[in-house]
Symmetry: C2
Subunit: 246 residues, 2 copies
DNA sequence: CACCTTTATAGTCTCAGTGACCATAAAGAA
DNA sequence: TTCTTTATGGTCACTGAGACTATAAAGGTG
């Protein structure tokens, strides 16, 4: 922690990369940009950019997210640091350390291509090909994190509009987890977790155009869920002889 | 993601900071170094150092840990990236982005003071005064992470020697969580979680010099625990002061 | 030695939470 | 009208957990 000679080492560039998720048409989508230049020209990549000299990584991530989606830090938006990727050879041009973030946005707003990207698009998660750099791994890590946090936080409401029905919230869970949930049991658990959602008295809305109109709710103040909402098929598959050292 | 001019910005220094924990004499301890120079001369700080040009942050963290404790990456040692701290003013001398790690080591080995530090010592967690830089926050974040991961991973075995009794493992949980656990219920849950610990047939050892000799176990292959081992007083304190409807 | 304390280990009882259902209500569609 | 769809309310059985009791096996103390 001494010898602070600014030029003692080859300089590191510090960037942020964003895995921005949304749920659209019952599918999980991720925001990707097409690279216009080498390396990986023509490949899809996660949006991101340099951390400016006066910024923290969090500030830079919020700025990049706003540039790409037009979403400000207000709204139901959720932005969270994931981890930092610092392999020496992860960018062939120079030493780049990237702080990755996961973002959840409620509805796919119009995409505004950033100045750096040829174009930006929402792609259904899983349909994108191999991404540039180590972005496949970052995206997979972000997806794992989001799936896990759905169990013990009220994060799922970040994918919903300000007012939503329990059916819509359940659909979000089903989409992210890729599993069907029993509507009655889901309802019992969500309403039994105080602070998860707040009822809007008297309000109701038709969801799919069919069926009985559903009551409306807003996101509650709770961040941690007690008890948690566990995934169904969390059967001991990762138990036995291996697992990743997370 | 373009304009990779190495000297376009003031260079960032990238460092690692380590929150190294161990359990000694029934108390949680953290490894700290005393700073020998300004800023914060005489203050305690987390061990750490620069990421070298050919290193990843993980490699640098492992190297620093070995330098401070003499522990190699083998052993029961656990090293895990926590998050990255990048506030522009966190170091008054220059722009330093620090990737923080949490480490769990089984037994307090002899401390070898690094070349940068006046001295390094194990201090009981909670008894250290204000640390240098933003290390108080890093340490608190690391502690939170470790407490939380004890619930749903077999991480606690990283604090134990290669062979341990269930009483020793329980003591680790009680030390980290600061709560007493029922021995019989703890035993039932640990043994009921497949892959958590492996029995060593026929082996037994006296623990406190008193009582019936206890069977010996080794850390099992499981990383995630199903079902998790929940903390006792995890009562909804962050929820509203309401009981849930039954 | 008998008798205590201490720790490990086994079992019991009860309650909360959950999954698997079933039933009813209220809307649009045929 | 009748069917389908979705929301909502309820039951039943099983599991896991906390609280508790009982037994086993060591050392300590008189």
């Amino acid at each position: 922690m001494q010898g602070y000679d600014k030029y003692a080492f080859e300089p590191f560039a510090v960037t942020v990369d964003l895995a921005v998720f949304t749920v659209r048409a019952g599918r999980l989508h991720v925001l990707l940009v097409e690279r216009g230049q080498e390396p990986y020209a023509g490949h899809w990549a996660l949006p991101g950019g340099f951390v400016l000299p006066e910024e923290s990584a969090e500030t830079a991530a919020g700025r990049e997210l706003a540039e790409e989606t037009g979403l400000a830090d207000s709204d139901g938006l959720h932005l969270e640091q994931l981890r930092t990727y610092s392999e020496p050879d992860r960018d062939p041009r120079m030493r780049v350390v990237s702080v990755a973030f996961a973002a959840l946005v409620p509805d796919p707003p119009a995409v505004r291509a950033g100045s750096d990207a040829a174009r930006a698009e929402w792609l259904a998660y899983g349909t994108q090909g191999p991404l540039a750099f180590d972005h496949d791994r970052i995206l997979a890590d972000a997806h794992d994190r989001v799936c896990a946090k759905f169990e013990y936080t009220g994060l799922a409401t970040a994918f919903c509009p300000p007012e939503f029905t329990l059916g819509e919230l359940r659909k979000v869970y089903e989409t992210v987890w890729g599993a069907e949930l029993d509507p009655a049991n889901f309802r019992r658990k969500v309403l039994g977790t105080s602070g998860f959602v707040d009822a809007i008295p008297g309000a109701a809305r038709l969801t799919g155009g069919r069926g009985k109109p559903a009551a409306l709710y807003r996101a509650g103040p709770a961040t941690a869920l007690h008890p948690p909402l566990l995934r169904p098929s969390t059967v001991p598959s990762d138990i036995s002889p291996e697992g990743k050292p997370s």
